[in-house]
């Protein structure tokens, strides 16, 4: 009985625990992970973080510049609570163009966990928001051409951009590893077929092909249909790279004694591939996953920026950047390119995360001295 207790105590660490222990040591990887988690939360709970309904048009607020968060008012008086000044529209007497001026008469204190416009997340109705102001409005990143709150739109756009990337990369990984494993494990005719398919797909110039395929989607389709087709197009064009890598890995693993041992004990091919070979490719798969997610974020932005991808009223980071296509707009209202910052953050975050995981995903390589 004593023996049994010892055995229970000596419970080994699971794979995830081992990966986490190693991953923790990589600072940059950890930073990447934190960025991704924050972006993910911001996007998922976008309405909660948005003080104003980002679908509401308001011509009086078009192209409003970002409001600064202040502690010291116009009279030099310090306030304990952060506040913003509301903006009032004015017309430039010389150019007759719109200018906004801060209304320094009354500070608008920022309140936390306020109740204002109603929204629905994951089926739950709520009107609770992280922050807001009692009267007037607060636009920390300014507004767009139609006077919609840019911060809210960026957070909301992150949903589409990140979902496309996650779904696309997920399908890519499943497709790529299955094709690669089949190709490497069975060899012969199957291998020939898969490898030729890979070569054909990879010999197309990537960008024009993506553009052609997304442009070929019918204009009459709803934005959800376009969204789903884009995910499918991304993953259909992206799997060859992973399939190649997995195939190489499988080819070398196939000859390892532990695989022969499974055959020797009577294990099926499915057991060999799914229990022994693919788990040993996991570090590879994770790395490819974290590399292809930022690629897909960028590709989605490029296509949507060009007007070929996601169609309004659906919002993605690329769609938001459409508003910054003209140089005059950027010159006059520089805040409209702020979605770029989020794209850069996401791409960097995933790359850091991938770097960290690359080292951590294979915790068994250390041999005890």
């Amino acid at each position: 009985m004593i023996k049994k207790n010892v055995a229970e105590l000596e419970r080994g660490k699971s794979y995830l625990q081992l990966v986490w222990r190693k991953f923790k040591k990589n600072r940059l990887g950890l930073l990447g992970g934190i960025i991704i988690v924050i972006l993910g939360i911001l996007a998922l709970f976008a309405p909660f973080f948005a003080p104003h309904d980002y679908y509401r048009l308001d011509a009086d607020k078009a192209y409003r510049p970002p409001q600064r968060i202040r502690f010291i008012d116009a009279n030099g008086k310090f306030h304990w609570r952060p506040f913003v000044y509301d903006m009032v529209m004015d017309v430039d007497p010389e150019t007759f163009s719109r200018i906004y001026r801060e209304d320094a008469r009354k500070p608008l204190y920022i309140r936390f966990f306020v109740r204002s416009w109603e929204y629905k997340i994951l089926g739950i109705r709520s009107n609770l928001h992280l922050f807001g102001v009692d009267e007037g409005s607060i636009h920390l990143l300014g507004t767009d051409r139609l006077g919609r709150d840019l911060l809210g739109r960026i957070l909301h756009g992150g949903r589409v951009s990140l979902t496309i990337a996650f779904l696309g990369a997920g399908i890519t990984v499943v497709l790529g590893s299955v094709m690669g494993a089949l190709s490497g494990y069975y060899g012969g005719f199957v291998d020939m077929l898969v490898q030729r398919a890979v070569e054909v797909l990879q010999s197309f110039p990537q960008l024009p092909l993506w553009m052609a395929l997304t442009a070929a989607l019918p204009r009459t389709w709803s934005s959800l249909q376009v969204f789903i087709s884009m995910v499918i197009i991304f993953s259909l064009l992206n799997w060859p790279m992973l399939a190649r890598e997995i195939r190489g890995k499988v080819l070398s693993l196939r000859e390892q004694d532990f695989v022969v041992a499974v055959k020797e004990m009577g294990g099926s091919n499915a057991r060999i591939v799914f229990r022994h070979i693919l788990p040993n490719c996991l570090s590879h798969i994770i790395v490819v996953l974290t590399i292809s997610i930022p690629e897909l974020i960028l590709m989605e932005s490029v296509l949507s920026f060009l007007g070929l991808g996601i169609q309004p009223p659906m919002v993605s980071w690329g769609v938001l950047l459409q508003g910054a296509q003209r140089i005059e707009v950027i010159g006059l209202y520089p805040w409209v390119i702020s979605p770029c910052v989020f794209i850069i953050l996401a791409v960097l975050g995933f790359n850091f995360l991938g770097d960290g995981l690359r080292d951590a995903a294979d915790p068994y390589s250390v041999r005890r001295a």
């Binding site: 055995a7 004694d257 532990f258 041992a261 020797e264 004990m265 009577g266 040993n280 041999r367 005890r368």
Partner: protein
């Protein structure tokens, strides 16, 4: 081949494993159309048999086809020709090379293998529990708590502690890993085990432990071994009979004592002379073989050993010698087996 026909039906019955004329030719292909340009005769007509409870040692240089032979018997490599007869648990003789995959799965329970490299033969991602339990899962022998108890027993049987169950292979030394491999081989209650150089990747001190473990297990569980090795002193230690292989063929087969003390094949003599000795009392009679092992792609004519044999004569290059009986249970493939007086080893050498 000939050997088989000299045996009476009655004696055949007690053989656990019989290999008849086993061949494995690897085709050598070239070009886009995979034209066959040659064949590597890795195993070329090997016949032998193993009695129940016996250990047959298989020795030979690297590349002579020992491992291929072992894997062909288990059909891990499909043999080109030949028969492998196995007497299963119910005493029925079955032909392994003609079995369907389903039938083969049943027989894999009884014939297991221990691999040479304890580092590559364990999946680094599975715990010891999962590794040792896998054969039992595959054959539906045990589940859950029962499986865990059985793994625990097996680990203790091979000299590991039960609390090592949840650990991963990388946390073990080479010797411990080999013990895990042995536990895995024993998991399905086998009757026959092919040990493919089970100790050659280990330190000498650990080698002895593993060899003793294998001996003990054989006694306890009534196992039969085919023990493949290139280390003659190891083979002497464990084997009841010894088969010497050269370039895919058996050149000598017999009782360990008669092969070691009175070898009848010049190749065996040369191999035996290469066993390291501690004693300096007498001058070493080491026979240095000329050249390398010839490529199995272009095996020499006649006796494959003739280009390196110091007793070779004209007939050796022309005629291939057959395995003939030269003593009680001692067979040699040499034209001059009865004429040559070859040196064996002294009784104390192998200890």
């Amino acid at each position: 081949m000939l050997l088989i026909h000299t045996l009476s039906e009655e004696r055949e019955k007690q053989y656990l494993l019989e290999v008849k004329g086993l061949k494995k030719y690897f085709p050598l292909t070239r070009g886009f159309w995979r034209r066959t340009v040659g064949q590597v005769k890795a195993v070329d007509g090997v016949s032998f048999s193993i009695k129940e409870g016996e250990t047959l040692g298989l020795v030979g240089e690297s590349g002579c086809g020992k491992t291929t032979l072992g894997r062909c018997i288990l059909r891990l490599i499909e043999p080109t020709a030949g028969e492998v007869w196995f007497t299963d648990r119910e005493g029925k003789r079955v032909e392994i090379t003609k079995m369907s995959p389903e039938e083969l799965k049943g027989i894999r329970r009884e014939m297991r293998m221990i691999f040479q490299d304890p580092f590559s033969s364990l999946n680094p991602r599975l715990t010891v529990m999962e590794i040792v339990g896998e054969p039992m899962q595959i054959h539906g022998m045990a589940q859950g708590k029962e499986l865990e108890d059985r793994v625990r027993t097996l680990l203790e049987m091979v000299g590991l502690k039960a609390q090592h169950m949840r650990r991963y292979p990388y946390e073990f030394s080479g010797g411990q890993r080999q013990r895990i491999c042995i536990a895995r081989a024993l998991a399905s209650n086998p009757r026959f085990i092919i040990a493919d150089e089970p100790v050659s990747a280990l330190d000498v001190s650990v080698q002895a432990q593993i060899l003793n473990l294998l001996e003990d297990l054989k006694e306890q569980l009534h196992l039969t071994y085919l023990f493949i090795s290139h280390d003659l002193s190891v083979v002497y230690h464990v084997s009841d009979r010894v088969a010497v292989m050269y370039l895919g063929k058996l050149v000598e087969l017999g009782d360990t004592e008669s092969v070691y003390f009175t070898p009848k094949h010049p190749y065996t003599e040369a191999l035996l002379s290469a066993i390291p000795r501690v004693s300096h009392k007498e001058k070493m009679h080491r026979i240095l073989l000329k050249g390398d092992v010839p490529s199995p792609l272009r095996a020499p004519s006649g006796c494959a050993f003739h280009p390196r044999c110091r007793y070779a004569e004209a007939v050796c290059a022309q005629e291939e010698p057959v395995l003939q009986r030269v003593g009680a249970d001692h067979y040699v493939a040499c034209h001059f087996a009865l004429e040559l007086a070859l040196r064996g080893v002294e009784a104390d050498v192998c200890g």
